[in-house]
């Protein structure tokens, strides 16, 4: 990591992490009130990975995320109201209520469909990248997934494809130490996911996933490589999800309290706020930023709650191309 970035730049990242955190905490509340049908998979604790990575992208780059993707898609600048509306199943949602929490897509912001099939996103990301090469565009594709995904065969097929075709993809592994309720290192021999990926012939980096600047810099390097036509890279961010695998899982029965506490003390928002607080007046500034994000989220959430549900007669919409 290089020298600490200027405060203004870091405040920007803090605000995005705060937005993601509060969006998700609000989702959890809505879910507990029974207003969000089905499961939500929160990335609370992992915001630095999503926000840091997205900050390294150009606005026309592409993102392929997963069911735990709220952070990745919000960090691309999508409209929180449309995101709320989607998780609430409204017609005004990003996907008109057809996708829900796991599939927040916004093609106008370079956000391809996040996937709820573990490992499916990696091959899809290679295709998005292939299309850029084909068009002569210098866009890159950020493909994020969890460490457990590296036990899925199709993921390995995709890593190999990206390597042999030198595709502009950044594979971002968010190693949150668990795949659902299973400790990650029980499911691989040895202690490194990165060494497996390195075998495909691409550079791999491990980074502190609780440090947003560290993630941003590692991904930025991979982006530069990809944009220069030098092919894919793998970045692994060590991180932790503070809550359960989904809203119905307390996340405590299979994880030691000491471990949870260790990681909670490394909360990416707290770490960054502490670092920034050395600057005079910063605490006030962050407070003010938080308040304005809160107001914006209030408005977005209320608007989404007031938004109309899809019409039953439109159940076919989107299935086939028109005509």
């Amino acid at each position: 990591m290089t020298a600490t970035w200027p405060a203004d730049r870091l405040v920007g990242l803090y605000c995005q992490m705060y937005l993601v955190r509060r969006f998700e905490e609000r989702c959890l509340e809505l879910s507990r009130k029974g207003l969000i049908p089905g499961s939500i998979h929160l990335c609370i604790g992992q915001e630095a990975a999503a926000v840091g990575a997205a900050s390294a992208l150009r606005s026309d780059d592409l993102t392929v995320a997963t069911y735990r993707g709220h952070g990745h898609v919000l960090a691309r600048g999508i409209d929180p109201r449309a995101a709320f509306a989607e998780v609430l199943g409204r017609q005004t949602g990003l996907c008109k209520g057809r996708g829900g929490s796991m599939h927040l897509t916004d093609m106008s912001h370079g956000v391809l469909p996040p996937n709820s099939i573990v490992g499916a996103g990696l091959p899809i990301a290679t295709g998005a990248a292939l299309a850029q090469l084909h068009k002569g565009a210098d866009r890159v594709v950020l493909c994020s997934f969890g460490e457990g995904t590296l036990n899925q065969g199709g993921a390995h097929e995709a890593l190999n494809l990206a390597a042999i075709w030198s595709l502009p993809v950044i594979f971002l592994c968010e190693n949150n130490q668990y795949s659902e309720m299973t400790p990650a290192y029980q499911m691989i021999k040895g202690d490194s996911f990165a060494t497996r990926v390195a075998a495909y012939g691409m550079p791999t980096t491990k980074v502190d996933g609780m440090n947003v600047q560290a993630v941003a810099e590692a991904v930025a390097q991979a982006v530069t490589r990809a944009r220069n036509g030098e092919g894919p890279s793998y970045v692994e961010a060590d991180t932790y999800r503070f809550l359960g695998h989904y809203q119905g899982d307390p996340g405590t029965s299979y994880r030691p309290v000491d471990e949870i506490n260790y990681w909670r003390a490394r909360d990416p928002l707290l770490l960054l706020a502490a670092q920034l607080s050395a600057e005079a007046g910063m605490d006030m500034r962050l407070k003010a930023e938080e308040e304005s994000i809160e107001v914006a989220l209030d408005t977005a959430q209320q608007a989404a709650l007031d938004d109309p549900l899809p019409l039953r007669d439109d159940v076919w919409e989107g299935l086939y191309a028109a005509g």
């Binding site: 996907c95 391809l112 084909h134 299935l319």
Partner: protein, 341 residues
Amino acid sequence: MQQVRDKVDTGSSVAAAVHEMTYAQALNRALAEELERDPSVIVMGEDVGAYGGVFGVTRDLQARFGPRRVLDTPISETGFLGCAVGAAMCGLRPVVEIMFVDFTLVCMDQIVNQAAKLPFLTGGQVRMPIVFRTQQGARPGTAAQHSQCLEALFAHVPGLRVLAPATPADAYGMLKAAIRSDDPVVYLEHKALYATVGPVRLSEYIVPIGMSNTVRSGSHVTALTYSAMVPVVLSAADALAEDGISVEVIDLRSLAPLDEAAVLESVKRTGHVVVIHEGWRRGGYGAELAGLIQELAFDWLDAPVGRMGARDVPKPFSPVFDSVYLPTKDSVISALRSTLC
């Protein structure tokens, strides 16, 4: 391609050239023309490049259009199908070759969960112009993992189009339609048909998706079929004609969507119908047709809807089993006869 004999189609006011060619050549021709016409079309698959495909369907395409448009892939069906899905969402029109339909079973996720679903679950934000070209069907000497007919699996899935051409002309015209479609198409060729020869009207001969072809008109009984069963059923119909039994043979061609109107019109006219296909009978495409016909044409039926398909066993290897595994000309004749008694 070189041996193609040119002749002029005198039956058409537009003097389009009609060529005699094989089913494989017709597919090759359609691919070449679509690659030529639209720079966003790409071809991907195992051995499709320099080698030209194990059935020769992609012969010479890489030499002509280059390795960036005709891509040899690793043996990674999930990887390259997923790659096609991503490329399709970003503006390309991939035509992917899956060497045997049996191999779609290792990458079903990308066909069923991804290609078929993503347009819908994004609220129509993405389109999925992919053709999954594959070939199916039994041939003497094939065993259980290189012989299946899986059309019923694909036709079951909302979001997919499923086509199964029976002739060189349709192989050509339907592939062009498939490539131009913005929906994912499972394009089911048949390994026993690649060498069959027939006339193909070139250039703008497009067979719209969802259109059946009545290949023989008749008044006593309707035979619904497709793919390599079409010639078998036609020869059965010829034999029955000598006994004064008039069989209408409809080549469905498009299984999803189905040409419902043509099927119902014919069935209502004849009052008798038998479905003949190579897929297994249990849960086969014929079961769907039988259900549909009894729902929509019950009052016109003079007999139950007949269904013929492969025996419900994996295809056995020894040729001694060939005549019991699949419907044959003789078994089709007796099925058509018995529905009339």
